[in-house]
């Protein structure tokens, strides 16, 4: 148990360090932008002013309000302070709503969509890959090339095709939004039903994309494992296949979990763009609106939130890996 604490303690510490650096990057990168940020911020207000001194006064007011007249490190400290109080600034494009409020709403939709989609996609993908590896003949020959092609299609590409086929051409499912545009969020059956209907298309799109990638990996790993010595030996001894299969797939799963951790960043990124296609009211659409509107507190907040999501997801996967991989357990017991 003591070994476990040390192992996990190190991991958590590392992630906290990564978080701090991510915060720093998130803060400094946009501020290294060439040009005067104040001019951009105040451009609307000074658009009709012609007197120079008045314009200068407005700029000065903005500088003080946003703390832009202090030095960079001071600004960073203020930023961190505000962050810990949950204040991420005020949005420009949706003035005067606070960034935290906007993101708070969107993130629920995104998590509700992506977490089940990634889990379901991962499970089904690995299952299909395992089956393909086990029954080499018919199933495999169809599944392999199909999934190879699907996994190469970009996430948003799949999203666009799904919207076009199912929503526009076949008119089976709604094309955009998180719920009917004539409804307001409430706890009525109508609202929940509408939410579920709008959930289908984005959900199955993301599941399909994840399946494509996972199936191929799992298939290769399973083929590799099925050719291992212990499998041949067990078969020789007469142990039934369905007992052996359990061990084989448990071994094949481990690199898949590591692979999941490595590819979570890309997956979330791709799913975010897919979200935009569906105009699903999650972080992706919010970020798109922020970029179009030149709203950099909101962009900053969105990227920070996405980074934190990915970091947490990575941490969870690493913890899971520590529990599942017996080699980690053994190493802890030795130490």
């Amino acid at each position: 148990m003591k070994g476990y604490v040390k192992y996990y303690g190190q991991k958590v510490l590392w992630y906290v360090l990564t978080l701090i650096i991510a915060l720093a990057l998130n803060f400094f990168l946009p501020r290294m932008m060439p040009g005067d940020p104040v001019a951009a911020l105040a451009s609307d207000e000074v658009a009709n002013m012609t007197e120079k001194s008045a314009i200068e006064k407005v700029y000065q007011d903005y500088r003080e309000r946003f703390g832009l007249d202090k030095s960079m490190p001071e600004q960073f400290v203020t930023y961190l302070g505000n962050l810990f109080q949950g204040d991420m600034g005020t949005s420009f494009s949706q003035y005067p709503r606070g960034v935290s409020e906007i993101i708070g709403e969107s993130i629920l939709w995104t998590i509700g969509l992506q977490v089940p989609a990634i889990i379901v996609g991962w499970l089904i993908g690995n299952l299909l890959g395992a089956i393909a590896a086990y029954t080499r003949r018919g199933f495999d020959k169809i599944v392999m090339p199909l999934f190879m092609f699907i996994s190469n299609m970009p996430a948003f590409g799949m999203a666009i095709i799904m919207v076009w086929v199912f929503a526009v051409t076949l008119k089976v499912l709604p094309a955009s939004g998180g719920y009917g545009f004539d409804l307001l969020p409430s706890f009525s059956f109508e609202y929940v039903g509408s939410v579920l209907r709008h959930y289908q298309l984005p959900f199955w799109t993301m599941v399909l994309i994840t399946i494509g990638g996972q199936a191929i990996g799992m298939r290769s790993m399973s083929i590799y494992e099925l050719n291992a010595d212990y499998v041949k030996y067990s078969r020789f001894l007469g142990i039934r296949d369905n007992k052996i299969v359990r061990y084989v797939f448990r071994n094949a799963m481990l690199p898949q979990i590591t692979g999941l951790a490595l590819s979570l960043g890309t997956m979330v990124g791709g799913n975010i763009v897919a979200e935009m296609i569906f105009s699903y009211p999650g972080i992706g659409t919010t970020m798109l609106g922020a970029i179009t509107g030149g709203d950099y507190p909101l962009i900053s907040g969105c990227t920070l939130m996405i980074t934190i999501m990915v970091l947490i997801a990575n941490l969870v996967v690493e913890i899971l890996y520590g529990i599942i991989d017996p080699r980690v357990k053994a190493a802890q017991q030795e130490a």
Partner: protein
């Protein structure tokens, strides 16, 4: 070396990928040159022309017309009637024409018209508002008009301002498409700016490939250098570089791309700069895999021999270790190109891609298509070929990579 190249070309996956890739590359180079239209030349003020051949209407006057025995009238009526009008016809026939409900299929326009012709009687009193009666009368008149087309006359204004008939056509006269002087074929239609999609697409493939190449080269070079140094030197340098690599693996490169691209601002995002930025954020996994290769190589005998002989570190790295990781680097380069193209497409969809009006990239085409709500209006030719091209390019590159992988690592070969 020669033997390895021969082996590579024997691998089926590599050959397939290679053929597809070379095909796309040739299309990208040759088609824009032979096309009648420039890639970014706006050909029409109408948005989204569907794929097909477009004929200049005035030129049909000058072409020789001959009669061909085809039932033109039925086709013309079928094409001219809107869904609404057809529905109304079915309504009338069911209510007053003695036709059973649901027995007429609105999709079968010929039967509908024949039934209408035989059953319609304008004397039958229609119950309902005057407006409804007038509607049916108008409908009947329109159908009769269409059915009775007895040819058309083209008139021009003469010097007195009066219309003078220039030419008359019987209803069954046709002109040959080849006789028309001005026609243009848009195999894939036009996009929302009126540009020919096929020409734009092929030139965009070329630009995207170039962008992918730049990004891939930069990412591979950085990854290679970091991997070599970290793997060979070990110790503090290794720990530092590994820490950096892990850092950039976990922080999604997509986020970094968004932040940097946004910070650069609208003015300075040319294709080359975007490529450089993508390269700068894509190196971590190359570094990681090169490093693990080098770590296993650094205790080989020839390396120890060079160390004993007193060769300098850079020399050992370049002459003794690099040749062994070369095959791996080539594979990494291919994968980096493919992921660079994807990253650019994603960035452009967000609106943070290259801001240029002189060139098109695959991502930019997708972005324009999205802003014009192409998939809601059903203009499939403006986004479907682009998505397929992106998929094909990445697919062929990844296929080549898998082929190479199987040649260089025999244990991965499919049994």
């Amino acid at each position: 070396m020669k033997h390895q190249i021969k082996q590579i070309f024997h691998s089926p996956k590599f050959v397939v990928g290679f053929i597809v890739f070379v095909f796309l590359l040739l299309m990208a180079i040759i088609y824009p040159m032979v096309s009648a239209v420039g890639p970014l030349e706006s050909m029409s003020k109408i948005k989204f022309l569907a794929p097909g051949t477009y004929i200049n209407v005035e030129d049909t006057l000058n072409a020789e017309a001959g009669v061909i025995e085809l039932d033109v009238v039925a086709n013309r009526v079928i094409a001219a009637l809107t869904e609404d009008e057809k529905t109304k016809m079915v309504e009338w026939l069911e209510l007053y024409g003695g036709v059973e409900e649901g027995s007429i299929d609105i999709g079968d326009a010929e039967t509908l018209i024949n039934t209408w012709n035989s059953k319609y009687d304008e004397d039958i009193r229609v119950t309902g508002t005057t407006a409804l009666r007038k509607e049916y009368q108008r409908l009947a008149a329109r159908v009769e008009n269409l059915l009775e087309s007895s040819g058309v006359s083209i008139a021009e204004k003469n010097e007195n301002g009066e219309l003078e008939i220039v030419k008359s056509y019987k209803t069954k006269e046709f002109v040959g498409v080849n006789d028309i002087a001005n026609k243009i074929n848009f195999p894939l239609g036009t996009d929302n700016f009126g540009r020919d999609v096929l020409t734009e697409l092929t030139s965009a493939i070329g630009t995207s490939l170039r962008l992918g190449l730049i990004a891939g080269l930069i990412a591979t070079l950085i990854g290679l250098t970091f991997g070599l140094v970290a793997g060979y030197c070990g110790g503090v340098v290794d720990n530092l570089i590994t820490f950096l690599t892990n850092l950039f693996t976990v922080i999604p490169s997509f986020i970094l791309l968004v932040l940097i691209s946004y910070s650069l601002g609208q003015g300075s995002r040319s294709v080359e700069i975007v490529a450089i930025v993508i390269g700068l954020t894509g190196w971590p996994w190359t570094a990681r895999s090169v490093r693990s290769q080098v770590v296993s190589l650094r205790n080989r005998d020839h390396v120890n021999l060079s160390k004993l002989s007193g060769h300098s570190m850079p020399r050992i790295i370049v002459m003794d270790i690099l040749p062994y990781v070369a095959s791996y680097v080539v594979m990494a380069l291919i994968l980096q190109i493919s992921s660079g193209i994807l990253a650019e497409a994603q960035l452009s969809m967000l609106g943070l891609g290259p801001s240029t009006t002189k060139m098109a990239t695959l991502g930019l085409m997708m972005n324009w298509s999205q802003q014009a709500s192409a998939w809601q209006t059903g203009a499939w030719w403006s986004f479907l070929p682009v998505i397929l091209s992106i998929a094909l390019v990445t697919f062929s590159l990844n296929l080549m990579n898998t082929g190479l992988d199987q040649v260089f690592n025999p244990q991965l070969r499919d049994s």
